[in-house]
């Protein structure tokens, strides 16, 4: 699992520009320290998806009337629910440099975010292959906080997966996940291949975003 350098630079606001040597060295340093500190873990579970009369979705762990999620999951009778984290060690590193070197803290944040993304991609690729062998196709992962899929679904999702006990993801009062480099997502399981290709950044409709790929 390695962070995509272009992603790191994109998070740092470089757009398509190249980094100078000092920053390149710094990113490499951050990558090394992060791979030492990270303890990537995940939990996942397949659930039946029910569409209720009022148009809302119920997968057992949470109910939501998110239109965007409903669209992403159209035609899916099952979903794969996941939670993944880089672990508490990464937050310690971020805190450490947040106090000792702001530059490094910022580069560390960007690198850790890219690393988390890489970890999720790695997991999803594995699942995609596994399900394709059974003749099933996975939709792109969709997380609470995307579009109108509310963060409040996070709690039910994490409780259902026992993510606190099993991989140490907790929520703050304001529904933020801790460790900070954690992701939850719902992935539609479909019998046909359409709608299964768009992933990541491009799934978002905010096309004027400064950080868009």
């Amino acid at each position: 699992m390695t962070a995509d350098r272009r992603e790191v630079l994109r998070y740092l606001g470089y757009g398509g520009h190249a980094a100078d040597e000092a920053v390149t060295v710094l990113i490499a340093e951050c990558e090394n320290e992060l791979s030492e500190a990270a303890t990537p873990r995940f939990v996942s579970q397949m659930l039946l998806l029910r569409r209720l009369m009022d148009g809302s979705l119920d997968c057992g762990f949470f109910r939501t009337d998110s239109k965007k999620l409903s669209k992403t999951l159209s035609g899916c009778g099952q979903v794969l629910v996941m939670a993944a984290t880089l672990g508490a060690g990464v937050d310690r590193l971020l805190a450490r440099y947040g106090r000792l070197s702001l530059t490094k803290a910022v580069v560390m944040q960007a690198t850790a975010a890219a690393l988390m993304e890489a970890y999720c991609n790695e997991l999803c690729t594995g699942w995609r292959e596994e399900y394709e062998r059974k003749g099933l196709y996975l939709r792109p992962r969709f997380s609470p906080g995307y579009g109108d899929f509310p963060l409040s679904c996070q709690e039910g999702l994490l409780n259902g997966l026992q993510a606190g006990k099993r991989i140490g993801i907790t929520l703050t009062e304001g529904s933020l996940m801790m460790p900070s480099k954690s992701v939850t997502a719902v992935i539609g399981i479909s019998e046909n291949k359409e709608f299964c290709t768009v992933t990541g950044c491009e799934i978002c409709e905010k096309t004027d975003c400064a950080y868009r790929r």
Binding site: L12, T103, V106
Partner: protein, 819 residues
């Protein structure tokens, strides 16, 4: 007979899993099992009875996730009634079966403790106290704290259990396949923590199966002086069509449990996936294996959240630099609440290989207890070294010991009755290894005999509090040889005799010995070596001094403590090469060329402006010292630094300089400022500060990196920044704005969910501080969004906030602050 007595007579067994059995009975995904204590009490009672019938001696109440976060005080069920019902169900099962003990089960709260999460340590204690109070009143026989992945939360739970009941406390933690807890602790560190807190039985549960737990169980047995309990899962989990199943059956489980028993586990049981069948078979396989012999391992050990440091092997280095004595800059940092300065001193000592950091923040005029709490909290969140809490203020001592995430070193107690009466109860309650000074009411004995007598008295008194000799480090005390020629000799004799005659561990503050002499390093290094040779267990030293570390490294080599001299060679081989190159250079240097001139020629020293433009943090300080030879500080700031910062800022706006470069320049400028400030302070002058700016990340949001960037940039432009931190309540922002009469407030929010509190903060500011202008920033904000919540300015990045702050000041006519 209580459970502690029974477990010493015969092997006792815990019950197994609850969750999967309740699912079989119809517990739905996402439903809280604790509610079944009231909804279906007979099902819970039957479950307990099944375990008791299978041979379990201890059953755990169905209260794993019971806390006020899941069950709000105004909700359908309260924590109190569920706890009472849960214990009642278990008690009825025990009565029906005619045997067994009821263990009140405490699991993780599901929230992460501050500073990483938002649950304050004392709040965590209070969450657990609520369950303990109700469960103990309802008739639990013991408390089992289990499945803990965070040592800090574990400590909160243990304190609650001990402070709110007199029941025996058992505590087990969960490890991953590498033997680490979720927040990084290992077997040794958690053993130190739990034994320090006086937990009766410690152990491992969940996470892994009995086969994977074997090496970690062996490790725990080898370091623990209390009985060890192990409750594994029924093997490793895998997903089978969406259901979790475990990879070994009850026979294989029991066989693996037998190995754990043979390896020294005292008490056996099960966790996830285990059933009465697992427990019955485990009991059948293991009840004939004789109980292990319990022995005190006699280990002197302190710990941080992540690891333990033991005394008695390689001598321990305690870094002494976090201490204001004789350090004006440190005192200034304490007065200005400049915690980063202190953290940097800690980080530097860790880099210099300190094993433990001494923390002394006593200064007349500051609230030492509050400062100690802040510094210990910050240090333990940033560094992973165990800390030595160094204070004579008992309140500060207790505060620090309570919130410390591990088993601390405590500095200090002595032979005075009054001091022992204050310190020993704290050591007993919170755990710790305590430094004991060889002095008492009669002062410092002049002879080694006298000091040994005091040491004996301290050991004896400690014992009466239940504190073992292993938890005491005798400080033989070291007087300045300039005032007492025999001072060092008496100290060395005492160190040797504590080891040889008392079998104890020792510590010394090494630097005192040279007081009053020139080139103190020479004396300190020689004395340190002599003390090591006389058996010193730990030296309180300055690890940044090469002479001390050279002596230490050489000592390890010469006393066969550095296998194959690998440590020494690793550290010094490259230095040898450097030395050669330097010598060659010297020999080939021009006769009248000074070393400084040669360095200038090679271009290694660059101008201040260049340092800032290129973001060279290391050279910036030196460059400003160089610049001060030509010019005064104010001129340097105005003619070199500000233009450099402006240039970088413009580049950032134009998209030719990027965020990391902007920050490197800002940090270089900050390093330069530090030097210039010192020079101005020495000259009696001070730089004129611009107006005050209050900065805060709003309530509910704990992302503060953006705010910190803004802070550094504003400070470089001489603004007087008052940083309120993160997760700041609206009323706090308002109060400070009013009391400081600040003309400008900057608020940051990262999440859509926390923009609500930003809006609330702005509303209250308009009401009570109508003069203040408000700038906002953060990932989710846009100009429109900022307008809609009533901010004066949306700043898309840190430079934009500097520009806005400058423009505000201009509009105000610099110093006029409307009231």
């Amino acid at each position: 007979m209580n459970v502690l007595e029974l477990m010493k007579i015969r092997r006792i067994f815990f019950d197994g899993g609850t969750g999967s059995l309740l699912q079989e009975k119809g517990l739905k995904p996402g439903e809280f099992p604790e509610t079944w204590n009231l909804l279906y009490p007979h099902i819970i009672e039957d479950l307990h009875r099944a375990y008791l019938d299978a041979g379990a001696d201890v059953i755990t109440t169905n209260t794993f996730g019971l806390n006020r976060f899941k069950f709000k005080p105004d909700g359908e069920w309260t924590v109190r009634e569920l706890a009472k019902a849960a214990v009642g169900n278990a008690r009825r099962a025990v009565e029906a079966c005619g045997h067994g003990y009821v263990a009140l089960d405490l699991g993780p709260t599901g929230r992460l403790l501050a500073p990483y999460g938002d649950l304050a340590f004392e709040d965590a204690c209070s969450v657990y106290r609520e369950v303990v109070g109700a469960g103990a009143a309802a008739g639990a026989d013991l408390i089992i704290i289990e499945t803990m992945g965070d040592s800090y939360e574990l400590k909160a739970a243990v304190l609650a259990a001990k402070e709110c009941s007199h029941l025996p406390v058992f505590a087990t933690v969960t490890l991953d396949e590498k033997g680490k807890m979720l927040t990084g602790g290992d077997v040794e560190s958690v053993t130190a923590l739990l034994e320090g807190l006086g937990v009766d039985v410690i152990g491992l549960n969940c996470g892994l199966g009995p086969i994977q737990l074997l090496p970690f169980l062996k490790k725990m047995v080898s370091v623990a002086s209390v009985p060890v309990l192990v409750n594994p899962n029924a093997g490793l989990p895998r997903s089978d069509n969406g259901h979790t199943v475990y990879d070994i059956d009850s026979n294989a489980f029991a066989a693996a449990m037998k190995k754990l028993a043979e390896a020294g586990a005292f008490i056996l049981g099960g966790c996830c996936g285990t059933t009465p069948d697992h427990i019955q078979k485990t009991r059948a396989w293991c009840s004939d294996i004789p109980l292990p012999v319990l022995e005190d391992k006699g280990r002197t050990v302190v710990s941080s959240y992540s690891h333990a440091v033991t005394f008695g092997g390689r001598p321990v280095l305690v870094g002494e630099r976090i201490n204001p004595t004789g350090k004006p800059r440190f005192k200034q940092a304490l007065r200005e609440h400049d915690i980063s300065y202190i953290l940097n001193i800690g980080a530097a000592q860790q880099e210099s290989r300190a094993d433990v950091l001494d923390v002394n923040v006593g200064l007349p005029g500051i609230d030492e207890a509050a400062m100690m709490e802040t510094v210990v909290t910050e240090l333990q969140s940033v560094l992973d070294l165990p800390l030595q809490i160094d204070t004579s203020d008992v309140k500060a001592m207790e505060r620090a010991m309570r919130i410390y995430n591990g088993k601390p070193l405590i500095n200090s107690v002595n032979g005075k009755k009054e001091v022992m009466e204050q310190i020993f109860p704290l050591v007993k309650h919170y755990g710790g290894v305590v430094v004991a000074l060889c002095l008492d009411e009669d002062g410092i004995p002049e002879t080694a005999d006298g000091r040994i007598a005091v040491a004996k008295k301290i050991y004896k008194t400690a014992e009466s509090y239940g504190i073992a000799k292993k938890d005491i480090l005798i400080d033989a005390l070291c007087m300045a040889v300039s005032s007492d020629k025999n001072g060092a000799l008496v100290t060395l004799e005492t160190v040797r005799r504590v080891r040889d005659e008392l079998g104890g561990q020792t510590v010394l503050g090494v630097s005192n010995v040279s007081f009053g002499l020139p080139m103190r390093e020479h004396i300190n290094a020689a004395f340190f070596l002599m003390a090591l040779q006389n058996g010193l267990s730990a030296g309180i030293i300055n690890p940044n001094l090469e002479a001390m570390m050279a002596v230490y490294d050489s000592f390890l080599v010469l006393t066969a403590k550095d296998e194959n001299c690998a440590g020494y060679v690793g550290r010094y081989a490259s230095r040898e090469a450097e030395k050669k190159t330097r010598q060659e250079k010297k020999e080939t240097a021009l006769p009248n060329g000074s070393e400084k001139a040669a360095r200038l020629d090679t271009g290694q020293v660059s101008g201040l402006k260049k340092s800032i433009l290129r973001g060279m943090i290391q050279t910036a300080g030196e460059a400003s010292r160089e610049a001060l030879r030509q010019s005064d500080a104010l001129t340097i700031i105005n003619e070199e630094m500000i233009p450099a910062l402006d240039e970088v800022g413009k580049g950032f706006e134009a998209g030719t300089v990027f965020l990391p470069q902007l920050l490197m320049s800002a940090e270089a400028a900050r390093a330069a400022f530090a030097v210039l400030k010192e020079s101005m302070a020495a000259g009696g002058g001070a730089q004129k500060k611009r107006s005050k700016v209050i900065l805060a990340t709003v309530k509910g949001d704990i992302h503060d990196i953006g705010k910190n960037i803004v802070k550094v940039l504003l400070e470089n432009y001489s603004f007087d920044v008052i940083d309120l931190g993160r997760d700041v309540a609206p009323e706090t922002v308002v109060e400070r704005t009013v009391t400081e009469h600040a003309p400008l407030v900057g608020l940051s929010a990262l999440m859509t969910t926390t923009v609500v509190s930003m809006e609330e903060t702005i509303r209250r500011l308009r009401d009570r501080a109508p003069w203040a202008r408000i700038m906002v920033g953060g990932a989710v904000l846009t100009r429109e969004y900022a307008d809609s919540i009533g901010a004066d300015m949306y700043c898309k990045d840190a430079m934009a906030s500097v520009k806005f702050a400058l423009s505000c000041e201009e509009a105000l006519g610099v110093k006029e602050i409307p009231m």
